[in-house]
Amino acid sequence: MRVAEAWRVALDALRANRLRSALTMLGVIIGVASVVLLVAIGTGTKQKVEQQVEGLGSNLLLVVPGRIEVGNAPVVSPLTLKDVDAVNRVVGDPDRVAVTVASGATARAGGRSDFTTVQGVLETTPAVFTRSLARGRYLTGADVDTSRRVAVLGDSVARALFPDRDPLGQQVALAGVRFRVIGVFAPLGQSLGVDRDDEVHVPVTAAQRLWGTQRIDGIAVKAPDRERIDELGERIVAELNRRHPDTEFSAVTQQQILGVLGDILGVLTGVLAAIAGISLLVGGVGVSNIMLVSVRERTREIGLRKAVGARPRDIGVQFLLEAVLLTTIGGVTGMALGVGTALLVDALSPIPAAITWWSLALAFGVSAVVGIVFGVVPAQRAGRLDPVVALRTE
């Protein structure tokens, strides 16, 4: 009965001050909506990146010099094409082995230029990584063997250099050396803010000649099956360590990459949520503030209720409920707003957003807790009011 009265009174109080209640809720609404939205974007990005990493091709093994860890400085690679031959022997199938030597370079064509990444690769690349062409053809074994100056352009590079022409058969100057365009990749899009279509593939031999190096930056192997992938990695690393005792090598699988990326994105999502949480906290302070006003405004009512038999706790519960109603109604509204915005962002912008049930539950729970935490002090103050003083208040 007493609790029912507390509900009735709390709702009545919110209704009596509609605008004030709405403005107070706004703080919570914005806070909850931003938590939901930012967590959705974080989660969406993570999902998309995972898809892309998996889309690289299954059972992929990347072999690079140095240790693969977040924040580790890259190591100058001692690998050469001779090492690639050794790896080929370990793997037993040269078609499963891809290499890269990459460097930034300016690409020019017909008065236009674009700074891009030039990758020296083998003809095996499209089979090892899942890459498809929009136009033309990819590099062949002959192109690699003869260091032919031919190039396959990423979608962005093709658009930048040949906005109104067919790039096929055109000349493009990479670091001042002319190459002939033989193909254009199908677009891949972005991941983690990186344009994956901003690259040019040329034969690894031509690239090495271009930069005057024998170096290979890394080797990628498509393992025949998932079970043997770790063992294969160990054998490759052992072989490379034997050939280069001074350097450490790492073989990482997609799962490991996903793990590292997941960690990074998890931290990122957490930071975003924390920033949004601060605005929720500010909203809570607003609730606390307005509850103190509400208590002051209704001091005489509190005095009267106490005079007719309300215990301190009855009064406290009444005001606590009012605060919790403010934040939970605000919380539900904020959730709706956050979900709506996330869906819009996902549909209308390149930023991916995915709603997760736990973020909704968390947002609602946090808004209720904010109501309790920030309502407790005003509620206690109301409960402890001296009835005589309260009744005298004007």
């Binding site: 209720r305 106490k306 038999g309 009744l391």
Partner: protein
């Protein structure tokens, strides 16, 4: 708890509703002590009709707050409904107020945006009465104060007199033993005030609730069965109305002298003082001098006439008379 002077020889006396013994109340204002009450002793019995008079600032409201359990004394002993206030925690005080006290304030203190019937039902909320029962009892109580047709009106849709009637209904819906009214007609014009006063007197008579009322109106005070005068935080006079002094014919009809004198108007100068001894001279009671003297004069005639009637019977007789007298009245 009961004092021998009041209940000893007459077995019919009921236990006091409120008993204050040498009660004081000192406020701390910016480090300065303000003694609003300086040793007041007073007993309110069921059915009493007491007028509390005195100049502004004499401590009447302060005393009313204490008697109603809204405030605690800083000294002395205060027993409300058989419970010592000093031993009660705030929630217990709240329950005590709910069960034994009804308040009527000068400023009405109705909840805005709340219907008359809900205002009246409010004390029942804190008693855990079901919503349907609350409404029934509140509606019945509003009927008794003549507002059966105003159940769903809000305070701002009612006149001052009607609002005070709602407040009276709210005070009585819990069937308290004491109704405390601090200048209940202070915000009303004289005609409306007189009607409200009449209602209070009628309820006091019909339901037997003790009525303690602060008033500045000497005429009003004269109608009460007992008048307590305060000055500077002490009781300076506490007298039952002398017989024959009644100038109001209506009231004289309704209240035979026997009722008045059957009511105990007790001023106890010191808790342990022998009633007939020179009570004011007890050591350690700074306020005892004036209070004791007044008490002695007030007590003598009452003591003499006490054997006449049990107050309960007298009241019942008076109610019967009243009912018989009015043709339309229900018995």
């Amino acid at each position: 708890m009961t004092e021998p002077a009041a209940s000893g020889p007459h077995g019919g006396e009921r236990a006091p509703a409120i008993e204050a013994v040498d009660v004081s109340r000192t406020y701390q204002l910016d480090g300065v002590s303000v003694a609003a009450l300086r040793g007041v002793s007073l007993t309110v019995r069921p059915g009493d009709y007491v007028a509390l008079v005195g100049p502004s600032g004499s401590g009447k409201s302060t005393l009313m707050h204490l008697l109603g359990g809204l405030d605690r004394p800083t000294g002395g002993r205060l027993v409300i409904g058989g419970r010592d206030v000093n031993a009660l925690a705030p929630p217990e005080m709240a329950t005590l107020r709910n069960e034994t006290i009804g308040f009527v304030f000068q400023a009405f203190h109705l909840l805005p945006r709340t219907s008359a019937v809900e205002n009246v039902a409010l004390p029942l909320v804190y008693r855990g009465v079901s919503a349907r029962q609350r409404r029934e009892r509140a509606a019945a109580m509003l009927g008794r104060v003549g507002l059966g047709h105003r159940l769903d009106h809000r305070p701002n849709q009612m006149s001052g007199g009607e609002q005070q009637r709602v407040a009276i209904a709210r005070a009585l819906v819990t069937e308290p033993t004491v109704l405390l009214a601090d200048e209940p007609t202070g915000n009303l014009d004289s005609v409306t005030g007189a009607a409200v006063l009449e209602l209070l007197e009628q309820l006091n008579e019909e339901s037997g609730v003790a009525l303690v009322m602060v008033t500045h109106d000497q005429e009003v005070a004269a109608r009460a069965h007992r008048r307590i005068t305060m000055r500077d935080g002490v009781v300076v006079a506490d007298s039952a109305r002398p017989p024959g002094a009644d100038t109001d014919p209506h009231s004289a009809h309704d209240r035979p002298p026997s009722v008045d004198h059957g009511r105990p108007a007790t001023l106890v100068p010191a808790p342990s003082a022998e009633p007939r001894s020179a009570s004011g001279s007890g050591p350690g009671h700074p306020s005892g001098g004036s209070g004791g003297a007044a008490g002695a004069t007030g007590r003598l005639p009452r003591e003499a006439e006490r054997p006449q009637a049990d107050p309960r019977e007298a009241r019942d007789a008076a109610v019967g008379e009243r009912a018989a007298e009015r043709p339309g009245g229900t018995t």
